[in-house]
């Protein structure tokens, strides 16, 4: 337990106290609302009170007349700014997305008007006096309603915002599932979650001059915000500086600005004076992008010994009206069975538009894969009659099986979930627990043990445009102090601490002598900051490399000054020493003074100063692994769950600071406990959010969270320093671990319908064998009954998913001839990273087809075949991985529709028109 990790040094691997803490403990932090600038005004929003409708009229006259009000803006006032609300991949949205509502509203809380006033109080007063008339329409709130309801966006033909995978059943896969000794059909209905950082969103925008814009904004990376604002607002000529010294949590919500922040920036460009908007908690709970809300059915076939044979996943997520990314969460499928010896997997995955606030990321956005797999494995173990630990041992990919390829062609060569599981069961006496559990059951007490294992992609770099390497700039000042500017950004991650530990270690200086600066886009260089559990892995590598470069320079200079070989110079505790000659020891300060101030004393050709920088490009992906266990007691009288123990055995490679690592895991686990037991963002039938305060949206408190016990299994990764990402893991593995423990406790009553959160009412329904939830919850009959049926019924295939209502179609035209096909077509392909626009050029010669596809990424030629009005051709691409894209296009008049088979990514939709 708590053993020092690999790569331990004087500071790396040590529990040194955090550099961020003294200022935060004494109230000297600098959060966005703490910044005040001269001439600053305040903004407040008028928001839609209805979920769907047309804006008939907006009257701002009364609001404008309030003393202290400077301006009231609607979308019409800001429309001359051409804004492209791009996503995290810097791709344009699939549907028109404007900062303020443009003629229609699509969710309760959508910003309709922005008021600028002397104070926040006056701005809010006036915002409530903006008179908006709406023509109400019936909203589409749930995924079930989205399947058959009128399109949320009138310009689209269905509510599918993104889709991948196979729509038609794969007969071979279906046969494998059907003919297997055991088929487990398992459904999870995951509630909507509010990321709920304790600091809400906020921005202070200052236009310093015609070509300068400074943004103080609470965010996950000032560099990404600067890049996003420049591109989204088309401000290529503007010097944008983004500052965020302290940020009160992000968790995925603060990746980049959205409607409100953009409205404030545009208002500053229009009005000129500095403007601050600080979201209040009510706004945050109704108007800030939310997360999760998804439903999934996983069918998994097992042989008689519990070995996995084949599996199929059908996933749907409620994207809301204006998601930050129209996605169908392809990562759910990519990683679902990646750590297991699964021969074959197929899927269908869809994102749906609804009249709810749009989704954004939340810690472990693809976490459904671990939740549904690990809970399905336990259901299978119970049904087949084997131990839940044993079913994992039989199926996990072990170190000796690696390298290998997952069923989705992901290279698996560095994972240790099986090894983490063995360390976990060495630490936790399962046999003793089973005895205790049996004795307790005799006494009418229900104890349960939950086990889960998983892997997680961390530190990704190089395959997504914004997921870059990280930059470290390290210098020894003329004072001898060490200053580093990093591309990292902490929202509580403690990177000013962990990066300083690395630099102190690798440079040979005291930890106290190192200061790390971040949180300002004018310092360091681009990185996405906190996203994808990456900073320890990637920036850690950069800090090591930059420190080593700088140490080399110090040795070179010291060797020259001391007339000895640089190889004999060693740096320790801020001093340069020469082996065997203590009288030659020099402080780094004295060497730095010469390096900066006396260039004549430097060796020929050596650049003055003591500075180094390195941008580290890690392996494309570094996998982290873990196995967790938790013990619960469920009170059969009340349905309350008490967590008695929780053990996390995780492999994060080198732990730079074990206390920081444990803090990240514990925070993620607490969020997972909230997801399983407490948190739920609910809506009524009219689309009104009904959890608009923290009295309704229940966050875990100290009394809900147990003491976590940690087992560190430190297998160094292949990235420099050996670190693996640890930011998201707890939030991913925590949910299945807890669900499995509750399901184990309540196994005498049957399987739990997995509709999160598992409230006392829902658990009592199982215990008492009657639906107590129906009386207190808003009826959602189709979904609730489907959840119960699917979870409890063995070996059945779920009812086919409803198809969206197709748009009215003209009668089939006769097959077009060459001239009707030949030429340019404007096409849009729905890819996992959002819609990709391209031009397709076709030339036909009888049944022969040739042409090229042209996009921003370049042009690629192809040849193929023509079958009547169908065109078929293949394209081989290398990014994000080597796959063959199989195009199948149908042309009807001036319209083009089709599908593209994208290897493991399934099938993507293609639409187009004459270019």
């Amino acid at each position: 337990m708590n053993a020092p990790g690999v790569g331990t040094g004087r500071y790396i691997g040590q529990r040194v106290r955090r550099k961020e803490d003294p200022r935060l403990l004494t109230g000297r932090g600098q959060f966005v609302d703490d910044i005040v600038v001269p001439g600053m005004l305040h903004a407040a929003f008028t928001r839609s009170p209805i979920a769907r409708g047309r804006i008939v009229s907006i009257d701002t006259a009364i609001a404008r007349d309030v003393p202290g009000v400077h301006a009231v803006y609607t979308q019409a006032d800001l429309a001359h700014f051409k804004v492209d609300m791009i996503n995290f991949y810097l791709v344009s949205p699939a549907v028109e997305t404007t900062p303020l509502a443009n003629g229609r509203v699509a969710y309760v809380g959508e910003p309709v008007a922005l008021v600028i006033a002397d104070s926040r109080h006056i701005a809010e007063d006036a915002a409530s006096l903006v008179e908006v008339q709406y023509a109400d329409e019936t909203p589409v709130v749930s995924i079930a309603q989205a399947r058959s309801g009128a399109p949320v966006h009138p310009a689209t033909t269905s509510n599918i915002s993104a889709q991948m995978g196979e729509e038609e059943p794969d007969e071979e896969l279906e046969a494998l599932l059907r003919d297997a000794p055991h088929l487990i059909t398992h459904q999870v209905v995951h509630q909507r979650i509010s990321q709920s950082p304790m600091e809400t969103r906020g921005v202070l925008a200052v236009r310093d001059g015609a070509e300068e814009l400074t943004l103080y904004i609470t965010c996950q990376s000032p560099h990404l915000v600067a890049r996003w604002v420049s591109l989204a607002l088309g401000l290529r000529q503007t010097a944008i500086r983004v500052i965020a010294k302290d940020v009160g949590g992000g968790f995925g919500l603060k990746n980049h600005p959205w409607k409100e922040e953009v409205s404030v920036i545009l208002a500053v460009l229009a009005f000129g004076r500095p403007l601050k908007w600080i979201e209040d908690r009510y706004e945050n709970l109704i108007g800030a992008n939310q997360s999760r809300e998804a439903e999934m059915v996983l069918r998994t076939a097992f042989d008689a010994e519990g070995r996995v044979l084949a599996s199929h996943g059908d996933y749907s997520c409620n994207n809301g009206a204006y998601p930050q990314l129209e996605e169908c969460n392809i990562a759910v499928h990519m990683f679902l069975w990646a750590a297991y010896k699964m021969p074959r997997y197929g899927f269908l995955t869809r994102g749906w538009y609804t009249n709810t606030v749009g989704l954004a990321a939340y810690r472990g956005p693809w976490a459904m894969e671990s939740l549904i797999r690990e809970t399905a494995l336990d259901v299978a173990a119970r049904r087949i009659g084997i131990d839940p630990i044993e079913i994992r041992r039989r199926n996990l990919v072990r170190l000796q099986d690696q390298p290998t390829l997952s069923c989705m062609s992901i290279p698996i060569e560095d994972i240790t979930p099986a090894e983490c599981l063995e360390q976990l069961v060495q630490y936790f006496d399962v046999a003793a627990f089973r005895k205790e559990q049996a004795a307790a059951r005799k006494a009418g007490r229900y104890l349960g043990l939950g086990i889960a294992t998983y892997i997680e992609p961390t530190g990704a770099a190089g395959s997504i445009v914004t997921m870059t390497g990280e930059l470290a700039q390290v210098r020894i000042e003329p004072t001898g102090r060490v200053t580093a500017t990093m591309s990292t950004h902490s929202q509580g991650h403690g990177t000013a601490t962990t990066m300083a530990q690395i630099i102190a270690d690798r440079l040979g200086v005291p930890y106290e002598d190192v200061t790390v600066f971040e949180g300002d886009s004018s310092r360091g260089g681009f990185s996405p900051g906190a996203a994808g559990s990456r900073q320890g892995v990637v920036a850690g590598g950069a800090a090591i490399k930059a420190s080593e470069l700088l140490a080399d320079k110090v040795r070179l200079l010291a060797g020259h000054l001391l007339e000895t070989s640089p190889d004999l110079v060693r740096i320790e505790n801020g001093m340069a020493h020469v082996a065997g000659k203590p009288e030659l020891s020099r402080s780094l300060r004295s060497i730095a003074e010469i390096a900066y101030g006396e260039p004549d004393r430097l060796p020929p050709g050596l650049e003055p100063g003591l500075e180094a920088q390195y941008r580290y490009q890690p392996p494309p992906m570094t996998l982290a692994s873990a196995a967790n266990a938790c013990v619960v007691e469920v009170d059969a009288e009340t349905g309350m769950v008490k967590i008695l123990r929780w053990i996390s055995a995780e492999d994060c490679g080198t732990a730079i600071n074990p206390a920081v690592v444990e803090g990240q895991i514990a925070g993620g686990l607490a969020q997972a406990i909230g997801m399983v037991l407490l948190e739920e963002m609910t809506f009524d039938a009219a689309g009104n959010p009904t959890a608009a305060t923290y009295k309704d949206y229940l966050l875990p408190a100290i009394s809900d969270i147990p003491d976590f016990e940690f087992v560190h299994c430190s297998t160094p990764s292949k990235s420099v320093g050996g670190m693996r990402g640890v930011g998201e893991g707890g939030a991913i593995i925590g949910a299945p671990t807890l669900v499995n423990a509750i399901a184990d406790a309540l196994a005498p009553f049957g399987e739990i319908p997995l509709r999160l959160p598992l409230t006392p009412t829902r658990l009592l329904s199982l215990i008492e064998g009657r639906d107590l939830a129906a009386k207190v919850e808003h009826p959602q009959p189709e979904e609730a009954s489907a959840a119960t049926a699917a979870a409890d019924t063995p070996a059945t295939v779920p009812a086919p998913v409803d198809q969206p209502v197709p748009a009215a179609r003209a009668p089939e035209p006769a097959a077009p001839s060459g001239p009707q096909i030949d030429g340019d077509w404007k096409m849009v392909l729905s890819t996992p990273v959002g819609p990709q626009a391209m031009v397709g050029h076709f030339e036909t010669d009888g049944t022969a087809l040739s042409g090229y596809l042209k996009s921003e990424q370049g042009s690629m030629g192809f040849t193929g075949i023509v079958e009547g009005n169908r065109l078929k051709f293949d394209l081989k691409v290398d990014k994000p991985m080597k796959i063959t894209l199989k195009y199948d296009i149908t042309i009807e008049g001036a319209r083009l529709t089709g599908k593209v088979k994208m290897g493991i990514f399934g099938t993507a939709k293609l639409v187009g028109e004459r270019g």
Binding site: L25, M198, D246, Y282, G492, S703
Partner: protein, 161 residues
């Protein structure tokens, strides 16, 4: 909206300024008195981030109006550490136990623990942990806060744990 002249002692210094009757104590402390360590997390009394000490008691600054604090002794998180920078025992315990990450909820946690461990109002471990259930921390999973609270409960009143 009526405006009032409000005077109170904040962190040992007299403060006098004007505010509307509707202004909360937390907004007053931040906006009028410059105590930006008072953090506003929910404005409905659940999260606890805005907790300050008013006449010896831990109070949610968002649920009290500034006019109600007329004449009161108010301590904020800025007023706890000694003049030479030595941390208050509560701050030191939280620092030693890695009890914070983003630090946004921290001032409220500090003030509740400081009020309950002040000389004369020494709370036991159970009382400190129960009081901590009134503070929402989204980052830490409360591990360090619990360790610090236990340490403080075990130490003599007002002394370094």
């Amino acid at each position: 909206m009526s405006e009032h002249r409000i005077s109170m002692t904040i962190n040992g210094l007299r403060h006098v300024s004007n505010a509307e009757a509707r202004v909360s104590l937390s907004d007053f402390l931040r906006g009028n008195a410059g105590c930006t360590g008072v953090h506003i997390g929910c404005e409905h009394g659940v999260c606890g981030a805005c907790t300050v000490i008013v006449d010896g008691l831990a109070v949610r600054g968002c649920l009290m109006l500034a006019v109600q604090a007329e004449g009161a002794e108010v301590t904020t998180v800025e007023g706890l550490a000694a003049g030479d920078g030595t941390l208050h025992p509560v701050q030191q315990a939280l620092y030693d136990e890695f009890a914070l990450q983003c630090g946004f909820c921290t001032p409220g946690v500090v003030m509740t623990l400081a009020a309950l461990t002040a000389p004369g109002s020494k709370a036991n471990e159970q009382q400190l942990l129960a009081a901590m259930s009134g503070h929402i921390c989204r980052c830490t999973g409360y591990q360090g806060i619990r360790r610090a609270a236990k340490k403080l409960a075990a130490a003599p009143a007002g002394e370094q744990p």
